[in-house]
């Protein structure tokens, strides 16, 4: 599946801008929102190919967003979800998120270049 559209839900301005800049350069269409509520609305309103989801977010945390999107029924069956966090969650929360996500990555370990290679790998899946 060709990946074109990406939604980035990220409250840290520097990190958000960095992803937007790099992914745009790499040829993707990227929308960026900074709070959890807006993120959930955006994810439900438009069928994105990939959602980059932070965990610690204002208004609504990433765990809740993922639960709302994929908890009871999968509202976004054609979307890949990449959880990106710097927060060391407890084991249960992490496993719960991994279950509904395509990747669970520590932001500090993932440079934009590596993120693009992860997205390209999803494309081949």
């Amino acid at each position: 599946m060709a990946i074109k559209t990406i939604l980035c839900i990220e409250d840290d301005r520097f990190i958000g801008e960095m992803y937007v800049r790099s992914l745009k350069k790499a040829g993707y269409d990227i929308d960026w929102v900074v709070d959890g509520n807006d993120g959930l609305i955006a994810a439900r309103n438009k069928p994105y190919d990939v959602i980059l989801l932070d965990v610690m977010l204002p208004e609504r945390c990433g765990t809740d967003i993922l639960e709302a999107l994929r908890g009871k029924e999968d509202l976004i069956p054609n979307t890949h979800v990449i959880v990106l966090t710097n927060f060391q969650q407890d084991e249960e929360s992490q496993l719960a998120m991994e279950k509904h996500a395509d990747a669970y990555l520590i932001k500090a370990e993932i440079t934009p270049k590596k993120l693009i290679s992860v997205i390209e790998k999803l494309e081949d899946k």
Partner: protein, 512 residues
């Protein structure tokens, strides 16, 4: 004929009883036969010297005696069994075979229950009942004393019902008045599973769990306990649970862990941006940088990578010390694991003007490893070797099979260590004599590396010579030798570290 005197020993009773009853039966039969003979003679049917009379009387005697003895044996057999059971319970030398209550006959007649009562009484419960009234004041005092202590006590009967719990015990009563224990055990090692195991396999057993909470995080009044359970088969109170309240100790740990998690989150934010833009700019500026600028740029990258690694070390050490570090072991190759840090290591070696050679044999068997954790170990060892090498020094990384393990060695020709330093090397916050002044570091890299390797069921060893260099060797189990254990344990390493690695006795790293 009645027995007037109680025998001194229960075992004496049966032979005496048997002797008297048999004598009685024989005497009775002689008297009855003689009486019948006398009646026949008196009636004039036979004369005293007629052969027929003796045949009839003698035959009657023999048949009656046989029938009576058979009836006696069958009516006396329960008495015999009861006596045998009592002899056994009294602890006397058993002169009678021990009756089995579970024969089909005993089951049908209900005699089984009678025998079981005797066996159950022998297990001590009878004594408790008998003495209870004498001890009532003492028991009341003991119970109120138990309610004053901070320790919890819970007693279970053989059906696992709570028969007693004191005030401090974390026990919940439902609307029907039924009590249940409120404890959140971690993983498969629960009280119930232990009890199940005891019922099947043990007569006496004891087990201890550490830092078991009674509620979820963020719930009001959450307490932490060290739990000790004792099991004794066949007693009225089969299982006793003793709970030591460690809330004051462990909840501080929890807060610390929270603090470190949040601190790491804060620190990782800026590092994400620094590493991210350095990575992007390295490409974009490659044509613009002049002279030593690109070398300086590499130093920025190396330093930010190191910073990121140190934060991981701190976070993992904190999790390890609180038994929260999780390992997810999978089949992997040494080369693939090293590959994830290869670029970073090359860059670090180059930036410090060291020569790093890495060579792994192609036919090396796969190992059981948590990739992220083992790459952290390799990174720590290589980073140390680079730091403690001299200018232009060589660091060599290699691997070979050794028994059931793959040995990965990191060899440097650097400053080395004297023997007294080597023994303390894996302690937390230990920094060697020289490094304190000259080389940066936190002193937890080797500590967490050892913890990670040993939780894989492996070992980490070091050989060093002062002034000549050091060799660190990590031995990790070959995947095929542990595959079965891993599959049984759902890829956690519990099966691996349960195997005689004494060091981990107080640690169970897989609790979330």
């Amino acid at each position: 004929m009645e027995i007037k005197k109680v025998p001194r020993l229960a075992s004496q009773f049966w032979p005496d009883f048997l002797k008297r009853k048999l004598t009685l039966i024989i005497l009775m039969q002689i008297i009855i036969s003689a009486a019948i003979g006398a009646v026949l003679v008196q009636a004039g049917i036979f004369t005293v010297d007629s052969v027929e009379l003796w045949i009839i009387v003698g035959g009657f005697f023999v048949i009656q005696l046989g029938v009576n003895i058979l009836i006696f044996i069958s009516t006396a057999s329960p008495t015999k069994d009861l006596i045998a059971a009592i002899i056994n319970v009294a602890g006397e030398q058993p002169k009678l075979p021990l009756p089995n209550p579970n024969t089909s006959k005993n089951e049908k007649t209900g005699f089984r229950d009678a025998l079981n009562v005797i066996y159950e009484l022998s297990s001590g419960s009878g004594q408790v009942e008998l003495k209870e009234s004498d001890n009532t004041p003492r028991i009341t005092a003991a119970l109120s004393a138990l309610d004053m202590t901070l320790c919890g006590f819970i007693a279970f009967d053989k059906n696992r019902k709570i028969v007693y719990s004191n005030k401090s015990a974390p026990v919940h009563k439902n609307s029907d008045g039924e009590k249940s224990v409120e404890l959140l055990f971690n993983g498969a090692d629960t009280f119930d599973s232990w009890l199940e195991h005891c019922k099947e396999n043990s007569v006496h057993d004891e087990h201890i769990w550490y830092r078991i909470p009674d509620r979820l995080p963020n719930e009001e009044g959450r307490r932490f306990f060290d739990v000790i359970a004792s099991y004794e088969k066949g007693t009225t109170v089969e299982t006793v649970m003793t709970l030591i309240d460690r809330t004051s100790k462990y909840s501080v740990d929890e807060e610390d862990l929270d603090f470190i998690s949040f601190a790491a989150h804060e620190l990782r934010g800026p590092i994400t941006v620094i590493r991210g833009y350095l990575d992007v700019l390295e490409d974009e500026l490659s044509d613009v940088l002049q002279g030593d600028q690109s070398e300086l740029f590499h130093r920025l990258i190396v330093s930010s990578n190191r910073l990121s690694g140190y934060i991981d070390n701190i976070l993992n050490t904190s999790r390890y010390d609180r038994r929260h570090l999780k390992m997810d072991l999978a089949e992997d190759t040494v080369a693939a694991i090293y590959d994830t840090i290869s670029d970073d290591m090359k860059l670090r070696a180059g930036a410090q003007n060291r020569l790093l050679t890495v060579k792994f044999p192609d036919d090396l068997p796969t190992i059981a490893a948590d990739r992220a954790s083992i790459s952290e170990v390799f990174g720590n060892l290589i980073d140390n070797a680079l730091k403690y090498s001299n200018e232009g020094g060589l660091v060599n990384v290699s691997a070979k099979v050794s028994g059931d393990f793959v040995d990965v060695s990191v060899v440097d020709n650097g400053i080395g260590m004297p023997e007294n330093v080597v023994s303390q090397l894996f302690q937390k916050f230990y920094r060697s004599h020289r490094s304190r002044e000259t080389i940066a570091g936190t002193g937890i890299g080797l500590y967490i590396s050892k913890a990670i390797v040993e939780s894989h069921g492996g070992t980490i060893t070091v050989r060093s010579e002062d002034g000549k260099g050091s060799t660190f060797t990590v031995s990790l189990p070959i995947y095929s030798t542990v595959a079965d254990k891993l599959k049984a344990g759902n890829n956690s390493n519990e099966g691996l570290i349960g195997e005689g690695n004494g060091w981990i006795k107080n640690h169970s790293m897989y609790r979330g």
